[in-house]
Every structure is written in C-alpha cells, then in structure tokens.
C-alpha cells in the first residue's frame, strides 16, 4: 500500500510520538519496531504533522529524530495534530459535504428525497461520476445520527433527517475553549472546537504544561465513559519491563494526574479483593467495558478515605502505614520555605519546634514515594526518621553518593 500521511488506527502512532518526544536519542535501529519501512512511514507522518517542532541530530548510532517543544511558548498543543489525521474514503468526504449541504435545521427529508437530490443536483454535476449506492448513504446517515451531526425522527413509518438546531453561541466559549484545550485531559475536543472558531486569542501561555498526555486522550475518554456509567472494565496493559501484555479487571473510579510530570493514571478497585490499584494510562493499550457495578458510590467513599495516606499513587505492598518525620532548619529570612512545606505537602502536618526548626510529619502507605520531594530540601534537613528504615538508609546513602559525585567534602564551594 502506498504511503499516506493519514492513519486508520491511532495505537501505533502513540508509541512513536512518545519515543520522539520523551526520549529523542534513539536511532531507527534502536526503536522497537516491526520494520524499517514502518519506522520511516511513521517518522514521515509525524514530521508532516509537526514539521516546525521536529529536530534531528547525527551521532555514531545514526540519525536521531526528536520533537523539541518549550511548552511554555506554545499556545496550542501541537501533538493534537495526530488526532486530526484520520484516514477516510472518497465516499466519506463526498457524502459529508453533500449531506451537510442538502440538509437544514428547518426541513426534514426522507432517504428517498435525499437520494433524489443527490442524483439530480450533485452526481449530475460531474461528467465521469458513478452513483453511490443507497446502503452507503443509509450507513453514513446512521453514523452521523450517532455522532449528533444529523437528527432523525419518524414521519409516519419512515425516518426523516435534518440538521439539529444549534442554539449554542460558540463564540461566547472562545476563551474557555482556548484555556481548557490546554489544561483539560480531554483538551483535544477543545482543539476540534477551535478549528471552528475564527481569530483565536494568542495571549494564553501555560507553564508546567506536559504535552504528552495528548496521545492518551482516547484512553482517558473510554475510562471517563466507564466511570460515568459505573462500569467495570478490562484493561489490556503493556508491561514494558517484561515486554508482555497483561489483562486486569477493575472498577475505574477516578483519573489521577500528576501536575508535576504529566503522568496520568486510572485509580480503580478490584471489586473482588476490595484493593485499590493505579495504572499508568500510557501503558494501557485497550479498554473493554464490562458489567455495571451497583455500589459505585461506596467505592468512591472508600477511595476518599484511602487517599488520606496516599502521597502519590503507590500503596505499598500490604497497605500498612509508615510514619515519617523530617526536621528542617529554617532561618528567619527563609520563611518562604515554610510556605513551600505548607503548599507542597499532600498530606501530613507542619509544626514549629522553635525559632529556626520546623517539623514535617506524615503517615503514608509508601514513604519511598516521598524521597524525591524530601531531596528538594537538601541543605536544610536536620533529621529524618521513618518507621521504614530503608527510606532513611536510601536517603542518606543517596546523599553521600551525590556529595561524592560533586567532589566530596574537599571540593565544596
């Protein structure tokens, strides 16, 4: 089949976008692909969609392609472009514009009336055109009724069609659409709406904006749909370390998002064991909706209680609580550090010990998960204690290695 910049299936392009965007150092030989031709085609597509953001460098491993974006300086997420590259047939595009032209909100038409209009006013316009069969048009009408683009109603025994009356003033949503298109996990829908609007505001900017959530939008949509109707789902997930696919059944309850890394998770419950599990959405390949759970709200309540001791998304191995305390030395001129403690702690408490010493304490399922945050206070930590001694050991051990890395005691500034 000849190359096309449009694609039928979104799943494969997710992997390539991640490779080019997150890593950007892998050559064609290193990316886990089926064939060199497949790599070349996907790379060419992404280059075509994102040409202004693509960069290259050459090293001993070959030519490396990467997507380089300063998310603070883009007003619109460029990765949404992939969602606008769906392939279609010549009948799809022809019928789309014919039906949108023939139908109106004011008058209903039957299938026969639509067929007659197509024959007399559209097909006859072209010298070499072939008729489009009735079943193709019937299918397209049904598809558009399902999408909400066409309204169907009964006239006697037959179905008649019209365009839905749109009372919505989309212009009044212009600013909201521009903002939420970049900040909402389903912002790609906002991007579709932006394509219908003229002269979009360019005055928005976004800091700490992790663009890579865009390729996972389809997974988010399927999960939110399941949450909405309280349905359990079967997740097909890829275990990257073992290169195998696994299946897990959960009742999805919430989407958890890290505002500090852009990672997205689904929080779900195994309704048999009543244990909560978190799955990263970029590892989810497929979602199959299953049966409805009657007691959805009780699981939400359980999750809300469970969250009180959750630092991130790790629940430890056996659900028991670990207590951690950190004492910081904060001078009078460094009071903003107390502000940091207060706003950055996700659970736990901050208390003053004396004029210059402050204690942070928390009870969490997995204190190891706090280590990256604790390290950000390097230079001020007087003491650190945890009921899980391996947390203390790792913290101080890592710090010793870090000091050694920068030349040890003898090489300080």
């Amino acid at each position: 089949m000849s190359y096309s910049e449009l694609i039928k299936d979104f799943s494969r392009i997710r992997d390539y976008m991640r490779e080019f965007f997150v890593y950007g150092f892998k050559s064609r030989e290193e990316i886990d692909i089926k064939s060199a031709r497949s790599y070349d085609n996907e790379r060419r597509r992404i280059e075509s969609w994102l040409s202004e953001y693509m960069s290259f460098h050459q090293d001993t491993n070959g030519k490396n392609v990467f997507i380089s974006v300063d998310s603070r300086r883009v007003t619109h997420n460029p990765l949404y472009q992939a969602w606008k590259a769906k392939s279609f047939t010549k009948n799809d595009i022809t019928l789309h514009f014919w039906l949108m032209d023939i139908l109106s909100p004011d008058k209903t038409l039957s299938l026969t009336e639509i067929l007659d209009t197509i024959d007399s006013e559209y097909i006859s316009f072209f010298l070499k055109s072939e008729p489009i069969d009735e079943s193709t048009i019937r299918k397209k009408l049904k598809e558009y009724v399902d999408l909400g683009l066409i309204a169907a109603e009964k006239r006697g025994k037959q179905l008649v069609y019209k365009l839905p009356a749109d009372k919505l003033n989309l212009q009044s949503w212009k600013d909201a659409t521009c903002f939420f298109a970049e900040t909402d996990p389903l912002g790609v829908i906002g991007s579709f709406l932006q394509d219908k609007l003229k002269s979009l505001p360019e005055y928005y900017a976004f800091k700490h904006n992790y663009l890579l959530f865009a390729p996972d939008s389809g997974i988010v949509l399927d999960l939110l749909a399941a949450i909405n109707v309280h349905k359990r789902v079967e997740l097909e997930i890829i275990d990257n370390s073992h290169k195998v696919n696994k299946r897990r059944i959960i009742l999805p309850l919430k989407i958890f998002i890290s505002a500090q890394s852009g990672r997205q998770y689904v929080a779900g419950c195994n309704t048999r064991t009543k244990r909560f599990k978190f799955f990263r959405l970029d590892s989810v390949l497929k979602i199959k909706p299953l049966d409805r759970a009657d007691d959805f709200e009780s699981y939400i309540e359980l999750l809300n209680g469970y969250r009180k001791h959750l630092w991130g998304v790790a629940s430890g191995s056996d659900g028991h609580i670990e207590h951690l305390e950190m004492v910081l030395v904060i001078e009078a001129y460094e009071r903003h550090i107390i502000g940091r403690l207060e706003r950055e702690k996700r659970c736990g408490a901050v208390e003053r010990i004396d004029d210059t010493r402050w204690r942070f304490s928390a009870d969490v399922y997995d204190a190891q998960e706090m280590l990256p945050w604790l390290r950000t206070f390097t230079g001020r930590i007087e003491s650190l204690s945890c009921t899980n001694k391996s947390v203390e050991e790792r913290f101080w051990g890592d710090l010793a290695v870090l000091a050694e890395l920068y030349g040890g005691d003898g090489d300080v500034v």
Partner: protein
C-alpha cells in the same frame, strides 16, 4: 468517537476550499494556501490531485462546485458534552460562557472525576468575586490591547500601583495560579492575579511595543539510568526544550533550556533526582548544587 475524520485537518481544509468555491473565488493559489494553513505540510500532495481528478465529487475541473452554501457542521454530541463538562469546573466562572443550548446535554465527565494529586495547595481562589472581576478586566485588556492600571500586593506585602501593557496570561497547572505577564511599558512585570486588589482599563497601547525577549538559560547534566531514572527524568523535564544524547548503555547527557527566572525551581527539580543527575555545565549551576550539599553535610555533622 474521538478519532474521526469529521474532526480531521483534511475536512477542515476542504470546507474552507469549498467556502471560496461557493463564492466563486477559488483559484489554484488559494487551494494551496488554504491547505498549508489548515492541514499538514504534505497534505497538498493528496488533496490537490483528489480535487483536480474529481476523485472527491466536490469541485469540478472548472473550479465550480455543486455545493450551494458555505459548508457548516453542527457540533457533535461529544463536543457538546465536553463543553457541558467544563461547566462543572470552578475555573469556568472566569470565562463566563453562555450555557444556552446545553440544557439537555449530559456532561462527558465532572471535575470531581479528575484528581491532580500533586498540585500545590495554595492555588488561586477562582470563586472569589473580586478575582473574577479582575480576570474579566484583564481579558478585555488583552483582547483590545489596552493598558491596565493595577493595584497589587507584592510578595513582600507592599502595595504597588502601576500602569502596564498586558502581554500574556499564564496559567500553571502545578501552582494552580494565573500570572499576568506584562511588557513594553517602562518596565515589564509578572503579577500573580491572586495578588491583584483592583485593576482598571486604560487606553490602547501600541502592540508593536510588545516583544518576546526570553531570558533563557541552559544547563547540561549527565544522567545515569537506574531505578528507571531515564524515563522519570525525561518525562519530568518534557515541558522544557531539551536534547538527549546517549553516552553508553546506562549514561546520557541532556541539555535543558529554561527561563532564567525559574533557576531556583530547576535547581529543586534537579535535586529531587539525587545522584541520578550530575550537572556538568555551567559552573555557576554546579556551584548552587554544591552549596546545598555542603550545607546539608554541615548540618549532618552538627
């Protein structure tokens, strides 16, 4: 269905082409210009032959179309449900859209379905009446390119009055705050909207005075990939422009570009990765890290 051709760049481009054809204004030059504006860099290779060869029965060889009115597409159910979902978000009050037409629509989700678990806790109060009023005035100023007289409280608690040319309205998902970036006047400033007491619209300013002068800096670090550090670091810094090169099986160098204004924040983010990251340039940044390590070792010995 999210992945559908009805939202595609091709359909958007063809709609715009048909719009000009309906008005009898279509030329080859315009077709190419519209494709380049609305679709992808190689789209002309597919769209132009499909139109010219009458593969898509939309425009004939004489640039005439059987389409009678400029193409319009109603909103899909998915689009309406997404807009309805936005009405459950407290930030929607800042934009005050007209909800008419969504009365019978089910929201796609609610704001409660989504949890940002590591968002800072001192975000702006989006329900505060004064905040909302100031936000609306700022949006007006940005739209109309008008100066703003702003009275705000500085981080040190001092009251500041000034006249500013608004440039960008920046939102941070991590801080859950809006900041107004100003530019072009006597001096530029970044003002947290949460600190603004009042603001007032003034006259128009010359938008040519607005300029994007990034005060950018860069650093290079060596990354050692264990405990899944490679993936974690790459994702954590994926909001910045960066270039990564592999040194050997486990080691990489990453050059990161960031705003000079955010140096302390970048330092903190680097520290959070501990010994997985060793900054190798510039020396001034290395010194900042050494200073923290030295202070920590001193505290430990005491």
């Amino acid at each position: 269905m999210l992945f559908s051709e009805v939202y595609s760049a091709y359909f958007n481009a063809v709609a715009a082409i048909l719009c000009e054809a309906v008005n009898g204004e279509l030329t080859d030059k315009r077709i190419l210009a519209i494709i380049n504006e609305k679709a992808f860099s190689e789209s002309f290779l597919e769209i132009i032959p499909a139109i010219k060869n009458e593969e898509w029965l939309l425009i004939n060889k004489n640039m005439k179309t059987p389409i009678k009115k400029p193409p319009q597409m109603p909103l899909t159910t998915l689009q309406k449900r997404w807009l309805k979902a936005l009405l459950t978000d407290p930030r929607i009050a800042l934009f005050a859209p007209d909800p008419t037409g969504l009365e019978e629509v089910e929201p796609l989700f609610t704001a409660n379905d989504i949890i940002c678990f590591d968002r800072y806790l001192d975000g702006d109060d989006f329900s505060d009446g004064n905040y909302i009023e100031n936000f609306h005035i700022i949006l007006q100023a940005l739209t109309d390119k008008r100066k703003l007289k702003i009275n705000y409280e500085s981080p040190k608690g001092r009251r500041v009055n000034g006249t500013y040319n608004p440039w960008k309205l920046e939102y941070s998902g991590k801080d859950d705050k809006f900041r107004l970036l100003t530019n072009g006047g006597c001096f530029g400033a970044t003002i947290n909207l949460g600190r603004i007491k009042s603001c007032e619209l003034l006259g128009e300013f010359d938008s040519a005075a607005l300029r994007d002068v990034p005060r950018e800096s860069s650093l290079t670090f060596e990354l050692t990939d264990y405990r899944n550090a490679l993936e974690r670091v790459m994702l954590a810094f994926s909001d910045c422009r960066k270039e990564t090169r592999r040194l050997d099986e486990k080691r990489y160098t990453v050059t990161l570009r960031y705003s000079l204004h955010d140096e302390t924040e970048i330092l903190i983010r680097i520290l959070s990765f501990g010994q997985m990251i060793k900054v190798i340039a510039p020396q001034s940044f290395i010194n900042l890290i050494k200073e923290r390590i030295f202070k920590q070792q001193k505290l430990f010995r005491e």
